[in-house]
């Protein structure tokens, strides 16, 4: 309460300050629908379309491998898993509408994956992947374990699908996972293309339930919890005190966590700038142009420039990291922590300065923890 009134006071003071000069542009005068159209048509729907093609390929290759579990089919499947996992990084942020209802991200990417639960399900041959308690034994991290973590080398991994007493169950579990990723993705894409797009675009007001407010909240939540904390902060031990090398994304593949991180970082920066997913040289209305319209400054500097510079600083810092983050936190965790610190700077610029300029309230709080 007190905090709120203090905030209100601060906001009022800031308002009265700007009122003294020539009246600046009002956040509410900007054409918010133009942003929503650009997001939906040039970023969100094409990203889901690309991803959906990748998940279809993933399932096809898993089915082929399941039928003919050869070394070469394993390599093919692994490649399509990597492509799909990278494409997932471009859609994971859009947890709005159907994905929110399906709890899409929790179904596709909870890590570390629960290998005991995976082995139990395979052994029993009976499982319902719709159960929330099985969220952490499916999706991309579970596939990582099945494709990279079962044995020391490919020959050993192959035995689980060929000569193991449960080989048939391993094959079936694998294709059940790829089938579920593919069908959930089809469901999300179909929702966007069969009505939700128009609903999303036309909900262009400025209340807390407007598309822009909700999407921006989802975007910052993703940046804070899944990019900054999930990919970097948690493995680096920011929240636990000591590094957790097993908590990196794609732990079993040993050389993939950095590429996933970079793809996610690029996707969040491109979204901020409204860059079209399939034509990176083109861009449309987005948060950056909205902030430009408002001439948003922070301590005398242009906020858009600050945010983009900060994205670049995080990328440069991350460039120094090992391709395998689990090796990185074990050999030199300071470099991971420095990356985290660069990412954290943009939480402040976006969650505080940007939201204040756009007159958007944060709609999530840290969980109570019980």
């Amino acid at each position: 309460m007190k905090k709120f009134s203090f905030l209100l006071l601060t906001v009022l003071i800031i308002w009265s300050c700007t009122d003294n000069g020539p009246s600046g542009p009002d956040a509410d005068d900007f054409d918010r629908e133009a942003i929503l159209v650009n997001w939906a048509d040039n970023i969100i729907i094409p990203s889901y379309t690309n991803f959906s093609e990748a998940t279809e390929q993933l399932h096809t290759d898993a089915a082929t491998f399941s039928e003919f579990p050869t070394a070469s089919n394993l390599l093919t499947l692994r490649t399509s898993w990597e492509s799909a996992y990278l494409a997932f990084q471009t859609v994971s942020v859009f947890e709005i509408g159907k994905p929110m209802e399906l709890r899409y991200r929790d179904n596709l990417n909870i890590y570390p994956t629960d290998t005991t639960e995976i082995e139990n399900s395979i052994q029993s041959g009976s499982y319902n992947l719709q159960l929330p308690s099985l969220n952490n034994s499916q999706g991309f991290p579970a596939l990582d374990y099945l494709l990279n973590g079962l044995g020391e080398d490919d020959a050993e991994i192959l035995t689980f699908y060929t000569s193991d007493p449960d080989a048939e169950n391993y094959r079936r579990y694998l294709t059940d996972l790829t089938s579920r990723i593919d069908s959930l993705t089809s469901e999300v894409l179909a929702d966007w293309t069969s009505g939700y797009r128009d609903e999303f675009v036309s909900n262009s007001g400025n209340g807390s339930n407007s598309s822009l407010d909700m999407m921006v909240n989802d975007y910052i939540y993703y940046y804070e919890k899944h990019l900054r904390a999930g990919k970097i902060g948690i493995p680096a031990g920011v929240f636990s005190g000591s590094p957790l090398s097993t908590h990196v994304e794609a732990y079993y593949s040993n050389d993939f966590s950095k590429e996933l991180f970079n793809t996610s970082l690029d996707a969040t920066q491109n979204f901020f700038n409204g860059v079209h997913i399939n034509q990176p040289s083109e861009s449309g209305e987005s948060l950056s142009s909205y902030l430009d319209y408002l001439n948003t400054m922070k301590d005398g500097s242009d906020l858009v420039t600050l945010i983009n510079n900060q994205f670049d600083a995080a990328r440069e810092q991350a460039a120094l990291l090992d391709n395998d983050f689990s090796a990185q936190v074990e050999s030199n965790n300071t470099a991971m922590l420095s990356t985290y610190d660069e990412l954290q700077m943009n939480v402040v610029y976006m969650k505080v300065d940007m939201l204040q300029a756009l007159n958007i309230n944060v709609d999530y709080v840290d969980a109570d923890g019980d």
Partner: protein, 405 residues
């Protein structure tokens, strides 16, 4: 703010009373730690309270141990004996198995509220057994089923999985949060800091004369006060200075006193409560019973407030989870299950200077019936939750907004 003012008034009054009382000399300082000795040995003891909190800590996770728990085992953990009174060893801890204490015997068992009301006491004691049995009979067989209206099973709450009955309630939360009222709060506010218990029999005379309880280093009155203290700080890392680890020491009152204290609208309530315990205990040593009873009033107001604040807090969290385009039922059910337990606990609160709770058993039952109506939490409305929040807050010196944030 208002609460602070009333505290200041109370403090002023008690200060005046202290000065009236201390015409004979001594003015008692608030001890900075809860340490009291006689002949070089401690006089503080509350092992029975520590034991019961620890038993609660084994019972709650056991309610979700699908692989090992049975109805018989859980009920034995609640009773620490068989149905017919035989000895049992349901706990992991050998110490708890050896203990003669149990949870059930002290549920709804205070002198002030239940000594003449054993029928209600029995109903409340049995209510916990009904919830425990429901967990085994309804939830356990459906643990691998998706929950739906009328269908017990599991539901996602963020990345956590919650296990609910057909109306969306988590029985483990009902048991855990209701014990805060029925066990800890009832024993503390309506038993151990009550004049009826502190001054029972020859306690006052014995305390004045320094007559010790049999084979003990404390007077009966000192011990009763310590037992009240034990229900809040009995599992503290350092019980003499418990605020350093407040919130980390149990999953019952200690935890939620910390939660409320961390809300800036209620900051200071933990220190105030500790000080009241310490000053009250010092007053007993000095034989200044008016000072003691003023501290009991502070304890009653503060502990009652903690329960009410958490009830409103969870009602509002649950409301926010439901009241959105895509309702988050899993998060809401978890919050509202906690709210249910805190509301249940309200009937054990105590208005200072009275013999009554802030909300009666009938009030509480009315609220709970509203939550349970029809399909329960599957169709409870934001309006119902708002009204309930307002009705609870109205009995206390805080607003819904202050409790909710």
């Amino acid at each position: 703010m208002i609460r602070l003012k009333s505290f200041l008034t109370l403090f002023l009054i008690s200060a005046i009373l202290v000065s009236c009382d201390t015409n004979d000399g001594t003015k008692i300082e608030v001890p900075s730690s809860y340490e009291f000795t006689r002949n070089g040995e401690t006089t503080v003891s509350f092992s029975g309270q520590t034991t019961r909190i620890q038993m609660g800590h084994e019972l709650l996770p056991a309610m979700l141990d699908f692989d090992n728990s049975t109805k018989e085992l859980l009920l034995q953990m609640y009773r620490n004996q068989t149905e017919s009174g035989g000895d049992v060893d349901p706990f992991e801890s050998a110490e708890l198995n050896a203990a003669t204490k149990n949870i059930k015997g002290k549920v709804a068992a205070s002198v002030d509220y239940f000594s003449n009301n054993t029928a209600v006491s029995a109903v409340i004691k049995n209510q916990f057994e009904t919830w425990i049995s429901g967990q085994i009979e309804e939830v356990f067989p459906n643990r691998n089923t998706l929950a739906a209206e009328g269908q017990p099973g599991q539901i996602a709450d963020g990345s956590s999985t919650r296990y609910v009955n057909g109306k969306g309630f988590e029985y483990n939360q009902l048991v855990g949060k209701s014990l805060i009222g029925a066990l800890m709060t009832d024993q503390m506010l309506n038993n151990y800091v009550s004049v009826s218990v502190l001054d029972a029999g020859t306690n006052r005379e014995d305390n004045n004369d320094g007559t010790l309880a049999e084979s003990s280093n404390y007077t009966n009155m000192e011990h009763k006060w310590d037992e009240a203290y034990g229900y809040l700080f009995g599992t503290s890392a350092n019980p003499a200075n418990p605020l350093a680890t407040l919130g980390d020491d149990d999953d019952f009152l200690n935890k939620y006193l910390a939660r409320v204290d961390n809300d800036e609208d209620f900051a200071g309530i933990a220190q105030e409560t500790f000080d009241a315990f310490a000053l009250g205990r010092a007053a007993i040593v000095e034989g200044q019973y008016d000072v003691r009873d003023k501290q009991a009033d502070i304890i009653r107001e503060n502990i009652s407030t903690v329960i009410a604040v958490r009830a409103v807090y969870y009602l509002q969290s649950g409301k926010n989870a439901i009241d959105q385009t895509t309702p988050d039922y899993g998060a809401a059910f978890h919050d509202l299950s906690e709210a249910y337990g805190f509301i249940y606990s309200l009937q054990f609160t105590r208005v200072p200077g009275s013999d009554s709770p802030y909300l009666t058993k009938t009030d509480v039952e009315g609220f709970l019936a509203e939550l349970e109506e029809g399909n329960g939490l599957w169709d409870v409305t934001p309006e119902t939750l708002d009204n309930m929040s307002a009705e609870i807050a109205a009995q206390f010196n805080f607003t819904v907004e202050e409790a909710a944030n």
